[in-house]
Amino acid sequence: MSSMIYLQDVTKVYRTERIETVALENVNLDIAAGEFVSIMGPSGCGKSTLLNLIGLLDAPSSGTVSIAGHTLDSRLDGRRGRSDSELARLRNQSIGFVFQQFHLIGDLSVVDNVEVPLLYRRLGGRERRLRALAALERVGLQSRAQHYPGQLSGGQQQRAAIARAMVGNPRLLLADEPTGNLDSAMGDEIMGILESLNRDETTIVMVTHDPRMAERTHRTVRMFDGRQVH
């Protein structure tokens, strides 16, 4: 199997005017296509930073990040201009995100929320709508398409968020504590959806606190103080 995610000697340092914080130090990671990997570790251990690097939301201070065959060098640290729009396209085509706080836009209906990633592709309005409804059907939320996020339960909101992450058919899904704000029953429900997506060959990387959830993944990467521990 080819690798979907390949991180080599990745270090991330945050610099403010006075202090320098090392968030990641010499991380090496190789995740194959189709894997379901969880990342665990205490707060502040750098797991979110790792996920942001994988998600191309942030660039490493040194080292190489390679996602779905696209290599991001630390020298190509651009977030603006051409390289920024390239990164944006890569995120749009290849990566889906699910967050602990759902991040649904409260002033848009569920189906409009799901459509958001498609807005940044050249697609007609009808096509967008059809795909969004299909994605909602997949998470069992088609009946709630015209509702607003505020009218949904936490679990339903997270399902809508997953539908949004999947609507563009990305090969990689990144989930940042997707069950963190949910009770265990809803958490199981979300986990079930993620597992079914993984069965359809979506690579999933999930940050979690919950060992129960981590057990359900193929393997777990443990982090401590910005370093991988095994």
Binding site: D58, F97, D112, P117
Partner: protein, 398 residues
Amino acid sequence: MIRHLLKLVWNRKRSNALLLLEIFCSFLVVFGVATSALFVWSNYRRPLGFEWKDVWSVSIDTKVVGDDAWTPQQNELIERLIAEARSVPGVVGAAGIDNTPFGFETNNAGWTSDGKRLRSEAVDATLEVPTVLGLQVAAGRLFEPADNAAPWRAVVINRALARARFGADDPLGKRLRERDPSEPEERVVGVVDEFRRGGELALPGNLFLRLTRPGQPSDRSGRRILVRVEPGATVAIEERLVRRLQAVAPDWSFEVQPLSRLRASAFRLWITPVAVGAIVAFFLLSMVALGLLGVLWQNLLRRTGEMGLRRATGASALDVQRQVLLEQALLTTLGVLLGLALVLQLPLFGWIGWIGKPVFAGGVLLAIVALYALTLLCSFYPSLMARRMEPAEALRYE
């Protein structure tokens, strides 16, 4: 994308309503000021039709208030005054007129001709007025000495009145108004392109110049003498003029004002309200601009998470900036459309009158441009902020 943003703007109508109202009100303010400024400007650029340099206006205070007490003796005295003025060394020509150029008093005549209701300014003037003021004839002729002896009153009309009264017909030799048989006929002898007695900023309109014939009690003399003096005439000439006039009519008072001074004060009177309006509007708009900047900035901060999410799902930094600007443009469009809906009622009800369609359209256009410029300027900094947000941090923002 636009539909998506429209939805977003529409669904935020509760929080956007107040902003929308503010944009709407600002539109009305800019429209009002822009239209009046444009009107004053376009009016100013139209030709004046007479020469005011080296002309003095002598106003005669006869100590008689109403027109009822007007007597032939007074007519005769004023004729003598005009003759006296003409004989003062340094004076090139003198003429009698009822209302001075650049003055604010006007006599208006209203009548019905061929079923048309007409309104026009009426100026009573002696034979020499066209010469003293340097009027240029466009058709026919100006007053001639022979007119003084004619049984009818010679009338010179402006182009606007010729069009309103006679349409495409040749007005020369025709009767201006059908009047009581006891009053002398008014016969059009000439047409001038323009004689804007009120000055560059006075409202455009119809005007006719009616000859005051000496010795005719029906023809009332004006209470002003227009005097053309040699260039560079001094106060000494003015003093001599007043003393000579005073000697002819010891009971009356005379005041000499160069037309240049009357013109300056007329200017001030027209410009002051527009200038005050413009200054106040400037204050209002800069206030609105600052307020808008603050509100948009704050709104954007509240939406940091959304911006982060959009970046994560594939929007580039530029996309996000464009979105902020576009949303503001949409909101502005809504406000402007509301304003337009109100403002366009004016021509529908025929309430733009002498403002004229081009000026009205110009005012509307200026208001639209100004509103977009203002709101986009105010959203530019917030949009830049949106562009510079680190998506990873934006997503963590609480």
